[in-house]
């Protein structure tokens, strides 16, 4: 027993790092606590599909298009979503599922249903009606434009994530949106309590790769799925780091008066002095290639991206016929304005400039510069102003879609999932072999641990895209493969246990 423990522990420490990174040390810790149990338990090998962990009985049943099934209780139902309360191995959850993901809903039969000869399992089929588009205004639909409004707030990559946005776009399609307005106000604060905005010179260029999981929704998925693409309009309030790339895929960007796009200005410093300069340059080059590509998609000059990302890049501008003409050099006349200097020696931004947000080592677009450079179509501060700027003041009809519920449901569900994961880990580590500590008690304890791990796996599968690697590390949450390994170690211990 003892040598197996130490072997297993040592091997876990050698696990290769994986995407989404699991802290080997913490995983090893989990495994170590597992092995303290040491003895056998039978009958848990077969990891049943998640659904079979619940008792079918008199519960509602959801059959998903991907083959998953889930028993529980339908809390509420709208034309487009089902709010569902279920439990996975004892851990309760409540979340919204878009009906587009569901193939069939079978509601639990009441006693009356049973008497009338319904399915003995208690489930009766319910036909899913496609969502009905919002009713056209009574003054006539001719010439009106259906406007779908989606507020993107909260942490980029967590609250603002691909699943809810994709769901919202599906909802917009169902509602026959002509125009989709996305207000972007991503939380770029360092303090979760005060929510004080970080200054312009704080940057995180590599959040680009998180954004690249979202932007294809607009660039490739929607064109493939919509017969006619709607107008996509971004209204920028705060779009820093990863969020900064999102509006670039749209040809129509508007700024709020205090709106800004930036937070990608650390590309030249991103690798410090690690390795050889030629490789650091390769890394910068490929990143810039990605970022420039998204700007080109939206019809923006990729040189602006370079100016936003690389501190040594010099860019000036002059205006001809009201249009910005970019010049890759310092200004040479009074009709030219400097956008970014080379940031070297005397040109390096002072601390005061950085604090005030008026440095020019890298470019941060604000409402004025964005408008002058042709990135922003205009500066607006209210919904009415925006609709007016879009030419929709009279013809625009706001769709009564599910956008708010989708985004709110996702954020709440995410918070709930994080709580449940933390709880499951806590409960996992607290599992003890109860007196008298015999074979049955040891088996029960192992069974409980495997179930807790299964719960964590389910939550990670459902909500993983919104959970950051930092959070996982902070709370010692292993990745799926590591959890599988830990489960296998428990099963082996169970097999080795003797009555």
């Amino acid at each position: 027993m003892a040598h197996i423990q130490s072997n297993a522990h040592a091997t876990v420490m050698k696990l290769p790092a994986r995407r989404g990174g699991m802290p080997g040390q913490l995983a090893a810790g989990l495994l170590a606590t597992t092995l303290v149990l040491g003895s056998a338990w039978a009958g848990v090998w077969a990891e049943p599909p998640a659904a079979s962990q619940a008792t079918p009985g008199k519960q509602d049943l959801l059959i998903f298009r991907n083959g998953n099934i889930m028993y529980g209780k339908i809390v509420t139902e709208t034309p487009t979503t089902v709010r569902f309360k279920g439990s996975v191995s004892g851990i309760e959850f409540e979340t919204d599922y878009p009906k587009t993901d569901i193939l069939e809903i079978k509601k639990a039969a009441t006693s009356g249903d049973a008497a009338s000869g319904a399915d003995p399992k208690g489930a009766v089929p319910v036909t899913i009606e496609p969502a009905k588009p919002a009713a056209a205004p009574s003054d006539g639909a001719i010439g009106t434009q259906q406007v779908y409004w989606l507020d993107l707030t909260g942490k980029f990559g967590e609250d603002i994530s691909e699943k809810p946005i994709r769901d919202a776009m599906k909802d917009a399609k169902k509602n026959k949106a002509d125009v989709i307005v996305l207000t972007l106000d991503a939380d770029w604060s360092s303090n979760p309590i005060t929510k004080e905005k970080r200054p312009d010179d704080t940057a995180q260029f590599d959040a680009l790769f998180r954004a690249e999981r979202i932007m294809p929704i607009f660039v490739t998925e929607m064109p493939a799925e919509w017969d006619e693409m709607p107008r996509i309009v971004f209204w920028v309030k705060d779009a820093m780091a990863g969020a900064a790339f999102m509006p670039l895929v749209s040809k129509e960007i508007y700024f709020a008066s205090d709106g800004r796009v930036g937070g990608m200005g650390n590309l030249s410093q991103i690798f410090g002095s690690m390795g050889d300069d030629v490789v650091r340059e390769k890394q910068r080059s490929l990143r810039l290639g990605h970022a420039e590509g998204w700007a080109i998609t939206g019809g923006y000059d990729p040189r602006l991206i370079r100016a936003m990302a690389r501190s040594e890049y010099v860019l000036s501008v002059k205006y001809e016929g009201g249009k910005a003409v970019l010049l890759e050099r310092m200004p040479e006349g009074p009709d030219e304005d400097l956008l970014t200097d080379d940031g070297i020696d005397a040109n390096e931004d002072t601390d005061r400039q950085k604090a005030a947000g008026d440095g020019n080592d890298v470019l941060t677009l604000n409402a004025a510069t964005a408008k002058a450079l042709g990135v922003s179509q205009g500066t607006v501060d209210t919904q009415k102003e925006l609709l007016s700027a879009l030419g929709l003041e009279r013809t625009g009809v706001l769709i009564n879609g599910q956008a708010k519920q989708i985004m709110k449901g996702w954020s709440q569900g995410l918070d709930n999932a994080k709580r449940q994961i933390r709880k499951a880990i806590e409960e996992y580590t607290e599992v003890r072999v109860e007196a008298p500590g015999d074979y049955r008690a040891r088996s029960k304890a192992r069974s409980t641990r495997i179930r807790k791990l299964e719960d964590i796996k389910t939550l990670l599968r459902l909500w993983g895209e919104g959970i950051s690697g930092q959070w996982l590390q902070e709370y010692g949450v292993p990745d799926l493969a590591t959890i599988n390994t830990i489960q296998e170690s428990i099963r082996i211990e169970q097999l080795k246990d003797k009555r």
């Binding site: 197996i4 072997n7 297993a8 091997t11 876990v12 050698k14 696990l15 290769p16 994986r18 995407r19 599909p49 059959i63 991907n66 083959g67 099934i69 193939l103 069939e104 079978k106 690249e212 999981r213 294809p216 660039v219 490739t220 998925e221 064109p223 493939a224 799925e225 690798f271 690690m274 390795g275 050889d276 300069d277 030629v278 490789v279 650091r280 340059e281 390769k282 890394q283 910068r284 080059s285 490929l286 810039l288 290639g289 990605h290 420039e292 590509g293 998204w294 080109i296 998609t297 990729p302 799926l480 493969a481 590591t482 599988n484 390994t485 296998e488 170690s489 082996i492 097999l495 080795k496």
Partner: protein, 428 residues
């Protein structure tokens, strides 16, 4: 090769692990048969049924998968139907071949890498996989050289060792058979080096291509002989594609580059930033093209974001794209493309779980060794199953022998035999 570092790290770590492996016969699938309304007939094992819904485990091109079908998709369900020989042909769709329309060329999109599953050259994009597809491509596109293969490339790079192999398959096997073109979504490092043997390259608006500097470890550049090998290799591959070698050189090392377009529209390159009319790559930088810069120097034949746009750029009014409509995919998905997609899906799962396989195997063998002979079988059985999984992983993608175990294919086979012996000995 920006991912070379992590690959090497993984190899070193994993090679250090003690492994024991086993062979057991691949479990034959039971003979259940599902006839679908779309015409497909799938044979395998019904692993679950509920209210008319079925979950069928079956084999596609040697790969095991489980799919879920709703009652309204199923035409007929036969349990324990006599299994028909499957052979190596992919059991994907028995869709009748597309009949060629006179004067309209047939074409097929093959994706190399994707965001969801994986994009690493040598892992998700392999020469072997491309080679396997050729007979099916010939069936669909014909052998008269009129068929078109479009490689839609989405990759951030990968293993240097695969570049030559991929280039050889594309240049020697594909180009003589089909009009072969690249449609670049993202082709970084080894992916750009792979596409570089193609004369005809198109970009999407967000396309990027370049950054081919070879490195290992903590951003340590290849130097000396290994660097020269890479530069010479790419000079040869540049010649295959008909590109000035300075272009790729500027993507590999900090080679300044400028260009002039003469009155005939021909682009002339210079290895500095002053001789040409405009700068292509600045001093001290590494070149990555975007759609605009690639088009400006005519490296790209044009920018297309849809099949219609690509069709026109390729000089056609109409192309008959082979494949069926698939949700969320902007082009028809053919059975060969489905093979690529399934391959990547399987590889992604294996890549994520490699550590788990090895860990589990180690634990199972250690447990068996710690048991008396009479109770050992159950542990050895589990170890055998895990070893089968490892073997299947390498069979699906032989590059895993290097990636996961730091071994050549031959060394891996030998290693498997050793592990099988260990398991046999445990049962003696």
């Amino acid at each position: 090769m920006n991912k070379l570092y992590s690959a090497v790290q993984a190899c070193v770590r994993l090679a250090a692990l003690t492994l024991c492996l086993v062979i057991s016969a691949t479990a034959a699938m039971a003979g259940d048969r599902v006839t679908l309304k779309d015409g497909r007939v799938l044979e395998g094992e019904l692993v679950r049924e509920m209210d008319g819904y079925v979950w069928l485990k079956y084999t596609v091109a040697g790969l095991e998968k489980t799919d879920f079908f709703a009652p309204n998709e199923i035409e007929k369900l036969e349990r324990d139907a006599a299994a028909a020989p499957v052979g190596d042909a992919p059991v994907v769709a028995t869709v009748p071949p597309v009949v060629a329309r006179p004067g309209v060329p047939k074409a097929m999109i093959i994706t190399l890498g994707d965001e969801e599953n994986g994009d690493m050259v040598g892992v998700y994009m392999t020469a072997e996989q491309l080679k396997k597809a050729i007979p099916y491509l010939e069936q669909e596109l014909g052998k008269d050289g009129q068929g078109i293969v479009v490689f839609r490339i989405h990759s951030g790079g990968g293993l240097a060792l695969e570049v030559q192999r991929l280039s050889d398959v594309i240049h020697n096997e594909y180009k003589p058979r089909f009009r072969t073109v690249a449609w670049i979504d993202t082709a970084i490092s080894a992916a750009a080096m792979t596409a570089h043997c193609l004369e005809e390259i198109y970009f999407t608006s967000q396309g990027n291509y370049g950054a081919c500097t070879m490195f290992s470890g903590a951003l340590v550049a290849a130097k000396g002989r290994s660097l020269e090998d890479a530069l010479v290799l790419m000079e040869k591959i540049s010649a295959r594609g008909g590109y000035d070698p300075l272009i790729m050189r500027a993507m590999q090392i900090q080679q300044p580059l400028s260009a002039t377009i003469d009155a005939d529209g021909i682009v002339h390159y210079y290895g500095d930033t002053t001789s040409g009319d405009f700068i292509v790559n600045r001093e001290n930088e590494i070149l990555t093209f975007n759609a605009i810069t690639a088009a400006k120097v005519k490296f790209s034949r044009g920018t297309a974001d849809s099949l219609d746009q690509l069709t026109k750029l390729m000089g056609y009014q109409e192309i008959q794209w082979v494949g069926g409509e698939t949700k969320g995919v902007a082009w028809p998905v053919s059975r060969i493309e489905k093979m690529q997609m399934d391959f990547r899906k399987r590889v992604a799962d294996d890549e994520k779980r490699t550590g788990e396989y090895i860990q589990s195997y180690n634990m199972q063998v250690a447990a068996a060794a710690g048991e008396p002979r009479e109770t050992r079988a159950k542990f050895v059985g589990r170890a055998r199953n895990t070893l089968d999984t490892i073997k299947s992983m390498v069979k699906n993608n032989p590059n895993f022998s290097f990636m996961a175990f730091g071994m050549t294919t031959e060394e891996f086979e030998e290693f498997i035999q050793q592990q099988e012996k260990i398991l046999r000995d445990l049962m003696r």
